[in-house]
């Protein structure tokens, strides 16, 4: 974008607009928001989801409100006001993630999941890195409440995205752009590759035909998870080596949960358990922390 040469006689207002748009897309979160929204709309339009507009509204409202409250309660070292507002982008991504994955017939469960998701970022943190992926934390906690405490009326519809290879391509394509922007594509790649190898070996050992494997791997929910959930730069290790090991661990655990314990939500639990190891990984492997915005846009990280 910087190489764009504007005509000399461009009106001032227009140049301001361009300046704004270039700064807008400097932030990788913008891409994430856009692409998650695209999937969301795609899902609403082409898939028969039991999406309730009120539930979506509650998700967004709770996420934003919690973010604002939490930013006030736990002020970051950054005195910059715009930083606070920018952190709402992260809340938006979490809200989109929750709306895409979590299903519920109770509004309170949705509100609880949204609140927990955002609150987890502020409560469980070390050196401004989160222990958990916020959306994952929200989902897993309400799922656990649902199965162990009583009906909290929340579930994940694993089959909802179908197994269309066309979707797989769209996911891969668009996800790739976001990941390249965020610079954490290696995590997704490692996770998908190791998971595919494990499933492939299982398939080979069992003697199923290969379309069984293809069916398992093209699941939309799996790709959504791999491309958008385990890539959150604020909750994954900074060093590349650490990230690769971390992603491998998630793949192995997800594989075990799914094929030994027959848990359909295996990957969410796997990420939930492995995620806090990020802190440990960062201690062992030193690497510069991820910044949402390039240096000149932000002095300090947002939430």
């Amino acid at each position: 974008m910087q190489s764009l040469k504007f005509p000399l006689a461009m009106p001032r207002s227009l140049s301001k607009f361009f300046a704004f748009s270039t700064s807008l897309f400097k932030d990788a979160r913008d891409y994430q928001i856009i692409f998650l929204s695209v999937f969301f709309l795609l899902g609403v339009c082409t898939r028969d989801w039991s999406l309730k507009p009120i539930a979506i509204a509650i998700t967004f409202a709770t996420c934003w409100l919690t973010q604002i409250c939490m930013v006030s309660i736990f002020p970051s070292a950054s005195p910059q006001k715009h930083e606070r507002w920018l952190s709402l982008k992260s809340a938006t991504i979490t809200a989109l993630g929750l709306s895409l994955l979590l299903r519920s017939d109770s509004y309170s469960a949705i509100a609880v999941a949204s609140f927990l998701a955002i609150a987890s970022k502020f409560i469980f943190r070390t050196n401004s890195k989160h222990w958990f992926n916020p959306a994952n934390f929200g989902i897993v906690v309400v799922l656990l409440l649902d199965s162990f405490v009583g009906n909290s009326h929340a579930w994940v519809s694993n089959g909802q995205w179908g197994e269309d290879s066309l979707y797989a391509l769209v996911f891969l394509g668009l996800g790739g752009i976001v990941l390249k922007k965020v610079g954490r594509w290696d995590t997704s790649f490692m996770f998908l590759a190791s998971y595919a190898i494990l499933e492939g070996l299982r398939n080979l050992w069992l003697g199923w035909t290969w379309d069984v494997l293809a069916h398992r791997l093209t699941s939309g929910s799996l790709l959504l998870f791999a491309l958008f959930m385990i890539t959150d730069p604020r909750s994954i290790p900074n060093a590349k080596a650490a990230r690769l090991i971390w992603a491998l661990a998630i793949a192995v655990l997800a594989f075990i949960f799914r094929n030994v314990f027959f848990n359909a939500d295996a990957m969410f639990y796997a990420l939930f358990l492995i995620s806090p190891l990020t802190v440990l990984c960062d201690r062992i492997w030193n690497a510069p922390r991820f910044q949402w915005l390039p240096k000149r846009y932000s002095a300090l990280p947002s939430n």
Partner: protein, 463 residues
């Protein structure tokens, strides 16, 4: 692109392999397992019904099949997740499955337009949905030892069935064992048996004891029930596809204390429901439902499971059949409700709550209709129970026009409104079923209705 080509090749070769299997298999089997013919009987078994009552890991599975061939020719082979003992297997009642079927079947609802000249008073009536009649069947076989690496883990008789629980070390041995014991198994069974053996699953082999069957006085076989504890919430469908002739229909009734169930590894969508359709469909509801199902199935790419009904068993609105009593539910495998109530059944039609002992005695029924074939359903079905309490039913509305004299202004207005309304119903029906709209219009006799005359808007203003 290269990946795509490889995939295409895999798909093509699988399709070809299927063709070969179909072409050479003389018998047609279906279901989670397959029926094994011991004679060259021509079998046709395309719709199966399965009831799964599940709470946690505890499962009671009931299988019923609408096989109509000679019972002495058949045996059933189903992979099961655990070793079953005699006490875990029993005979179910076809009547109970029929009750579940009629309770949850897609239904027609009729409304009669009131006299437009009189005060509005509508009432509705419920017509029974298309119910399926199911029958079942089975076999005779010799059991022999031998070096097959097949272990007969259990051997017992339940009702008219002689049952063997087999475990095997490898599929060659199992295949040879089945062949040597006069089971005529479909070609390619070996490859499909292998994954189940590797998954440490056992094989439930049932055949019919004709003498016992005669004692029951029934020509058809009764459903088989098995109770077991396993984290696997799945139905093996691959074996049944082996010698299947095209698409097979499977109705799964999942009874859960928690809420709706869904298929975890395929999309689950709702059947189209709630539309107003022409009243003549009342006489051909079966055809209508079949065509509509087929149209939706094609539209969704033939790879989804359809939700036909989801409801808490304690009520229904409208009821196409009386909700199942506690005793009937227990017979359907619902083990978490208390002993049968003495004062069961009979009573009102709509919203008749059944007094359950406690919240734990809740039963939520989900009816899934899965039409599967080898192509689009490569993987066995796995299910998932959710706490979703949303009710759903396949419901189609017939609105009968008022037949009496309508001479008042409102009556004339009403008459004029009929044609557009019928036209809309015709279009809905055509869209849902893919039927020819001209035929529909003819059957509805739309042409005989007065054409609505477009009156200029000002005509009514200065009256």
């Amino acid at each position: 692109m290269k990946k795509f080509l490889i995939w295409m090749r895999v798909l093509l070769s699988t399709a070809l392999a299927c063709l070969v299997v179909f072409a050479y298999s003389p018998a047609v089997f279906a279901f989670c397992g397959f029926y094994v013919s011991q004679a060259d009987a021509s079998l046709f078994n395309k719709a199966s019904q399965v009831v799964i009552a599940r709470d946690g890991k505890r499962t009671v599975l009931t299988m019923a099949n609408d096989y109509q061939g000679d019972v002495k020719d058949f045996a059933l082979v189903v992979p099961v997740p655990v070793l079953l003992k005699k006490e875990q297997v029993r005979i179910g009642e076809q009547k109970i499955i029929d009750r579940l079927d009629s309770f949850s079947a897609p239904r027609l609802v009729e409304y009669f337009d009131s006299d437009p000249c009189a005060r509005y008073e509508a009432y509705d009536r419920v017509t029974l949905g298309a119910t399926r009649s199911s029958a079942a069947p089975a076999t005779e076989a010799k059991t022999r030892g031998g070096n097959y690496q097949v272990t007969i883990e259990a051997k017992f008789a339940v009702g008219e069935y002689d049952i063997l629980i087999l475990s095997a070390k490898d599929s060659d041995g199992l295949e040879s064992w089945l062949i040597d014991n006069d089971y005529k198994i479909p070609q390619g069974a070996k490859e499909i048996l292998q994954p189940y053996i590797r998954q440490n699953m056992k094989f439930f082999v049932a055949k019919v004891n004709i003498a016992e069957l005669n004692k029951t006085g029934s020509q058809s076989l009764r459903p088989l029930m098995m109770a077991y504890e396993s984290p696997k919430f799945m139905l093996p469908i691959r074996l049944g596809m082996l010698n299947a002739n095209g698409d097979q229909d499977l109705l799964v009734y999942i009874l859960s204390p928690k809420g709706q169930a869904e298929v975890a590894n395929y999309r689950t969508i709702k059947v189209p429901s709630g539309d107003d359709i022409p009243v003549y469909v009342k006489n051909e509801f079966g055809d209508f439902y079949k065509s509509m199902f087929k149209t939706s199935y094609e539209k969704e790419g033939r790879k989804v499971a359809f939700l036909e009904y989801a409801w808490d068993m304690s009520s229904c609105d409208p009821c196409s059949a009386e909700p199942l009593s506690q005793e009937e539910l227990r017979k359907a495998g619902v083990f978490w409700i208390g002993a049968p109530d003495i004062n069961t059944s009979s009573g009102g039609r709509i919203r008749r709550p059944i007094p359950f002992p406690s919240n734990d005695g809740r039963v939520f029924v989900t009816r899934l209709h899965i039409r599967y074939n080898r192509d689009k359903f490569p993987e066995d079905l796995t299910f998932k129970e959710t706490s979703n309490q949303e009710s759903f039913q396949g419901r189609y509305v017939l609105r009968h026009a008022f037949k009496g004299e309508t001479s008042c202004d409102a009556g004339k207005e009403y008459q004029r409104s009929l044609r557009p309304r019928f036209e809309k119903e015709a279009k809905t029906l055509a869209r849902l079923t893919g039927w020819n709209i001209a035929d529909i219009r003819r059957k509805m006799n739309i042409a005989s209705l007065p054409t609505p005359v477009e009156k200029p808007f000002w005509e009514n203003i200065w009256k």
